[in-house]
Symmetry: C2
Subunit: 198 residues, 2 copies
DNA sequence: AGTCTTAAGACGACCGGTCGTTTATTAAGG
DNA sequence: CCTTAATAAACGACCGGTCGTCTTAAGACT
């Protein structure tokens, strides 16, 4: 067998580069040539690793969300005593990723997924499943905080979780338009600092 | 001159169709052929009305936001006594547009703009200006409500306005993923029903 | 150990199709 | 009749995807 480069590094490399470019230019705005050129991988090799561009996009969503959950859990488990603070820490960690221009956050993936939804129903289902997991998880922590009297109880935990996600996603869009990280910082701090607290 | 059709109807028609398709498939995901076919306009005619696709996109943003402001003001002026209720009414009106599948809302335009930002700095500036107008306006009403004691005063009006926008925009993305209008309904009602009130 | 066989991965040229855009021709109005 | 907008056809560039060739290393056999 011929193995000039290590395939175990090329595949993740393509996924990584792909996500970064998708985050910047969008799914339809990014060509495969651009991806392989950036990754210094021949175009022909791309299809040794992925069946199609759509498959590739789906794989990015799955691959990244797995990575995301790992970080999420290791972060949120570290602060089990205060569910609200634990959530806040998670968001702060994701914020740091944005500052580092890694853009590897859950919501960027959501934007990519939304772009793919129209042509790929399968993609919509995949993303919806991940979103449901995410919302259920956040809602769980909010509910805990509510029971402990740390968070307001006049609103449903599920609805609050959705609100968090919507705000976070939306602020990323505003980040693009304002060309600044401030919107994301601001909205998240407002949510945690004022609106969620009892 | 040769004028088989009225140009005053074709131009708005193209803008209308363009926005609808952009909202569904995104800027890069929509071809000019698709636009002109839907509008039953010959492809060659497109460039009689618009210099380029980018110009067209920019024009959609400007044209729609003008239309948006008109509706906005006529709606918000009708209920000057209660600034909070006035805002709420505005959001409800926009919600109805979503239900009617007209998708002609400000935030859809923002998604299109965000997609164009990468290649067109001019577009970013245009959208940012409109966004600033929007946020300043909403913040103004929130501030009024705060002074009247109708809205919570423990958070800055500008920050609350931004939060509204972020949430609204984000919920539209969730709408795509969940393939349902509920997310938009839910988030807006939560904001007005619980979080903004004193 | 050395040699041969074999096949999976690397690779770039290339495919048909579609993209955004231009242009040559047509036909109507002043 | 001349101007000018409308339009179909055509443009080159580029898209996602395929193809055949080349390279190289693992296993078979001596």
């Amino acid at each position: 067998m011929a193995r000039l480069k290590n395939p175990d590094t090329i595949r993740p490399l393509l996924l990584e580069v792909g996500l970064t470019l998708f985050a910047k230019r969008g799914y339809h705005g990014t060509g495969i040539k651009e991806i392989v050129d950036t990754a210094h991988v021949p175009k022909g090799s791309f299809y040794n690793y992925f069946k199609s561009k759509e498959e590739f996009g789906m794989e990015i969503i799955r691959w990244h969300s797995a990575d995301f959950w790992q970080k999420w859990h290791s972060s949120i488990d570290a602060n089990a005593a205060d569910p609200l603070q634990a959530l806040h820490d998670c968001f702060d960690i994701m914020l740091v990723e944005h500052i580092d221009c890694a853009v590897n956050t859950f919501c960027v993936v959501a934007h990519v997924a939304a772009e793919m939804c129209e042509t790929s129903p399968e993609c919509r289902i995949t993303m919806k499943t991940l979103l449901d997991d995410m919302l259920r998880n956040v809602a769980g922590y909010i509910q805990k905080a509510q029971r402990l009297g740390l968070a307001r109880s006049d609103a449903d935990a599920n609805e609050l979780a959705s609100l968090f996600w919507d705000t976070w996603t939306g602020s990323i869009l505003r980040m693009k338009i304002e060309d600044s990280i401030e919107p994301v910082k601001q909205s998240v701090s407002l949510l945690f600092g004022r609106l969620l607290k009892k």
